[in-house]
């Protein structure tokens, strides 16, 4: 998974591209490169983060160019493997996002024809393939011919020395055009375009676009086609970090508003009738979205009496259960490969499909029958925070509509201020317990079990502390053996049906000397007395407590990671949206 940017216009292309790539760093950041057409081809490639080393690339001349920020899939991150890749003549430059599955066979074929490969990537084959098809004038025809030979997923940008155009092609990887006055942009998502233009064109799978100063033309299967111009309402300010030290903290603090806007953005009319009373629901998602799906399962099964199955996208694709009823997929980016594959499978079963996503015009919105949007705005930090809360907002409203009596909507009226309230908490004593730990346990019951899983995931991904989420009752079936004074436990113990059993679980853990961080309702004396650190959250409806608790766990992970000096926004080995299997 990578990010690509292309530009044709009147501005210095390298500068536009370097700026744009920085905004796409969340898609990958192990190496980057830029090529400009001036009209001779100039190429700069470099291992490392563009935010640290991008200024040199910005010096390339020319007003036509393409660029790439990489997330290694084939070949280690290095200057040589960084994009753009060139053909044998050094005249054709290609950047690519996705995976070419038949690259090995194509490489053998092209090598037999005398092409010389310089890198270990799957992308270089595209450059040589285009070279093989190129007659010296018709670049679009050459790219089209080359694409017809490729299997796998790709979003490509191609330029050739001396030409005034950039050719873009997409199949199963995201690509969007930005339309300005006498300039055209292409990028993996809208963030690099913001600040230059609000008019965008989303390309469909199989589309090929030709960009030049005069404008843009889209072709599908060789025929010219019309694609509508859409307006994006995200402005560049919302994409920026503002004055926050990390995107993650910025996004955590946006959550009261995100929850309110998302919850109120869904109305009776948002949900077609056939989704109101399903026989059963299958939710498919990955990562944090999967945890949101688990919350929905608990909520919907107990309150609406509708069976809900929550499945991991990566498993679902290969081990598909018998399907009936609605299939709902949850993906922040709308591009998660496993989730998209699951969606396609569900369609093959003729199930009505519903997508929950944050990104307008993303692939998932075009594949599913119906889409509900989170109103989280762009999420840049790799660790999901506001998108998780926005997913819960959508799912809670969905459950409310299915339940039909408005109980959840009424209970959640004060949720935004409760989330704001926990942002004031001083978590320093809890951070002191987590910081030196090598292992952490998160335990909860019922609705709080998925929240424990999500809390542990946040801690793992940004602080690199090994954290496990458990249903509190399961601890006795094994993990209890690991408890000691070196394994702190974060216990979620809000008032409710399981409160007293949670209390006795905590006492048992305490008896094994494990330091306990208890999160419960403000004023809970009993809990305060038995835990080492008590984190109070406002006493309110269970759903509000759940939201407030998940925000506390995000903050705990964030503060711990900062205390440990981690790169919070770009944790090692992780990328924002997982667009490959």
């Amino acid at each position: 998974m990578c990010g690509i940017v292309g530009y044709v216009g009147f501005r210095p292309a390298a500068k536009v591209i370097v700026d744009g790539l920085q905004k796409l760093e969340y898609r990958g950041y192990d190496s980057f490169g830029v090529a400009t057409n001036n009209p001779s081809l100039q190429v700069f490639k470099c291992e490392g983060k563009i935010s640290e080393k991008g200024s040199e690339a910005g010096c390339l001349h020319g007003t036509i160019g393409i660029g790439h920020t990489r997330w290694a899939t084939h070949g280690v991150p290095s200057d040589r493997n960084a994009h753009p890749h060139l053909d044998c003549t050094g005249r054709i430059a290609v950047v690519h996002n996705g995976i070419i599955e038949n690259y090995a066979a194509l490489t053998r074929e092209l090598e037999a024809k005398g092409h010389v490969f310089r890198s270990e990537t799957d992308t270089e084959v595209v450059a040589h393939l285009i070279e093989d098809c190129y007659d010296g004038s018709d670049l679009r025809g050459a790219v089209e011919a080359a694409c017809s030979r490729l299997t796998g997923s790709f979003a490509l940008l191609v330029t050739v020395e001396g030409s005034e155009t950039v050719v873009a092609a997409r199949d199963s990887s995201p690509l969007v055009l930005g339309v300005g006055d006498n300039e055209v942009f292409a990028a993996s998502d809208v963030t690099p375009l913001l600040g230059y233009t609000e008019r965008v064109v989303y390309l469909e799978d199989g589309d090929l676009a030709e960009l030049d100063r005069g404008g843009w033309r889209v072709y599908a299967r060789g025929e010219a086609v019309q694609r509508p111009i859409e307006h994006v309402d995200w402005d560049v300010e919302t994409v920026r970090k503002g004055g926050f030290p990390h995107y993650m903290l910025k996004e955590i603090f946006e959550q009261p508003k995100v929850f309110y806007d998302t919850f109120h953005g869904i109305t009776e009319e948002s949900l077609p009738m056939q989704y109101r009373h399903p026989s059963e629901i299958t939710v498919v998602a990955c990562g944090s979205s999967y945890h949101a799906g688990l919350v929905f399962k608990y909520l919907c099964e107990s309150a609406c009496r509708i069976p809900v199955r929550t499945e991991l996208g990566s498993e679902f694709k290969y081990f598909t259960p018998p399907l009936k009823g609605i299939v709902t997929v949850i993906t922040q980016s709308g591009e998660t490969a496993d989730t998209l594959a699951a969606l396609k499978k569900a369609r093959a079963y003729n199930c009505p499909t519903l997508a929950i996503t944050n990104v307008l015009g993303s692939t998932v919105t075009r594949v599913s029958d119906h889409t509900l949007y989170m109103r989280a705005g762009p999420e840049i930090s790799v660790a999901a925070t506001k998108s998780f809360v926005a997913q819960l907002a959508v799912l809670m409203h969905l459950a409310d509509l299915m339940k039909g009596d408005g109980e959840f909507a009424a209970a959640l009226e004060g949720a935004n201020s409760a989330i704001d309230e926990v942002l004031l908490l001083d978590l320093a004593p809890a951070v002191e317990i987590c910081r030196p730990a090598e292992h952490l346990f998160y335990v909860g019951r019922g609705l709080f079990y998925p929240i424990a899983l999500e809390g542990a995931l946040k801690m793992k991904e940004i602080s690199y502390i090994h954290a496990e989420g458990y249903a509190a009752g399961e601890l006795k079936h094994g993990p209890f053996a690991l408890l000691s004074r070196d394994t702190p436990v974060v216990a979620l113990c809000s008032p409710g049906d399981t409160y007293s059993i949670m209390l006795s679980n905590i006492k048992e853990m305490k008896a094994r000397n494990a330091p306990i961080i208890g999160i419960g309702a403000r004023g809970d004396r009993e809990l305060t007395d038995i835990v080492d650190v008590f984190i109070p959250i406002p006493e309110s409806h269970e759903l509000v407590q759940l939201l407030a608790t998940s925000v506390v766990l995000q903050l705990l992970a964030y503060r711990t990671a900062v205390a440990l000096g981690r790169d919070v926004d770009q944790p090692r080995n992780l990328a924002k949206s997982v667009t490959v299997e």
């Binding site: 503002g242 004055g243 910025k250 109120h264 201020s417 004031l424 406002p538």
Partner: protein, 384 residues
């Protein structure tokens, strides 16, 4: 021209309203004080603005981001006084700059008067000079600034707005800004006093009501949302988007109402009232001369007059305020003031509560109905 706005201090005398925000972020006429300061600078073409944040910095930064205010922020990690706060901004300052407090209102005309000066202090008359720095002038220049004197020698006080240049940093080490200025004057620097047109400060929480009343006439009239045809609206009124005004509701401006509120039916909102966003006012309630913040719920048959109501308070039906002029003891000081009530954030009251000239802390729960609450109630208390 650059400007530095100090917004790092809590503003403790405004407690309990500063628990979740610094004083600079307290809304008056539905706009944080800090926003008035930034707007006055922008209106004067001053675009290079540095805001020093500290106490609840995330909230300030979030507000600046949400409102797309084109400023830079600098963090003062520990609140070590105004001189230190200014020094946090020093790396960004080139030559001349304005120094302002983020928690005092200032109008654009005053900025226009001082922005051309090299060394100047903006001054104004104040009836209670003992809370401020009293400015003594001689021969058209400032000869002395006496901070919070017990026996003031005049009524001209410093507004805390200065025109300065980088040479001022020679005096700021370990000093508060007024003391540094005093040192600079003793060093025979010439500092010009410039008269402010409209400068306002709310030292005590109930003084916000006066500031609210004075700033409400500046709001821009707007009627977004859904307004029942049988409601009656008079005067200057601003209603935000998504707000519903129910039938037979009477609103007499100047009144500002935020977004997504539900008011009425059969409510009365009298002049000099501002109501934040997502506020619910149930039927048959009466609100006058009050400052109601975001996410508040006021139950039916309530009567809220001369009150500051903090964020997310939940007042049940038949809650009433009672304006008297009793003497209050706050942090060891006795003060006499006439107002109905000041409620911190997230106060909840049972039905038929009477709030009599009281200051109620954050997260206070008034559990028993039919109670009359007076005096000062600390944060987190439960009234039974």
């Amino acid at each position: 021209m650059q400007a530095v706005i100090l917004a790092a201090g809590e503003g403790t005398r405004l407690r309990p309203l500063t628990r979740s925000r610094p004083k600079a972020l307290v809304p008056v006429a539905n706009t944080p004080i800090l926003k008035y300061v930034i707007d006055a600078l922008l209106a004067n073409g001053i675009r290079d603005i540095i805001v020093v944040v500290g106490y609840r910095k995330e909230h300030v930064i979030r507000y600046l981001n949400e409102n797309h205010l084109p400023v830079r922020t600098v963090v003062q990690e520990n609140q070590l006084g105004t001189g230190h706060a200014l020094r946090c901004a020093e790396p960004f300052l080139k030559d001349r700059f304005l120094l302002l407090a983020g928690d005092n209102y200032i109008d654009r005309e005053s900025i226009a008067r001082i922005k051309g000066e090299r060394n100047a202090v903006l001054v104004t008359d104040h009836p209670n000079p003992t809370n401020f720095g009293v400015v003594v002038t001689r021969g058209g220049f400032v000869s002395e600034i006496k901070e919070k004197p017990d026996t003031p020698t005049g009524y001209i006080v410093s507004t805390g707005i200065y025109a300065l240049d980088r040479s001022f940093f020679r005096y700021t080490v370990g000093q508060e800004v007024p003391d540094a200025l005093q040192a600079m004057i003793q060093d025979s620097a010439r500092v010009v006093p410039v008269r402010a047109v409209d400068w306002q400060d709310a030292v005590n929480p109930w003084e916000l009501l006066e500031m609210n009343a004075r700033l409400l006439p500046q709001i821009e009239a707007r009627r977004a949302g859904t307004i029942s045809r049988s409601s009656k609206l008079y005067g200057l009124i601003r209603i935000g988007k998504g707000t519903e005004i129910g039938p037979n509701t009477y609103i007499h401006g100047p009144v500002a109402i935020g977004d997504d509120c539900t008011i009425g039916p059969n409510c009365v909102i009298m002049p000099e009232t501002s109501i934040g966003s997502r506020v619910t006012i149930d039927p048959l309630s009466y609100v006058a001369n009050s400052l109601v913040m975001d996410d508040v719920v006021i139950g039916s048959h309530s009567r809220i007059i001369d009150a500051v109501v903090g964020e997310a308070c939940r007042l049940q039906d038949h809650t009433a305020t009672w304006t008297t002029g009793a003497v209050l003891e706050r942090e060891g000081q006795f003060q006499k003031a006439a107002f109905g009530a000041v409620l911190g954030d997230r106060v909840s009251s049972a039905p038929f509560t009477i709030l009599k000239n009281c200051i109620i802390g954050n997260n206070v729960t008034i559990e028993a109905g039919n109670t009359t609450v007076t005096g000062v109630v600390p944060d987190g208390a439960v009234v039974i």
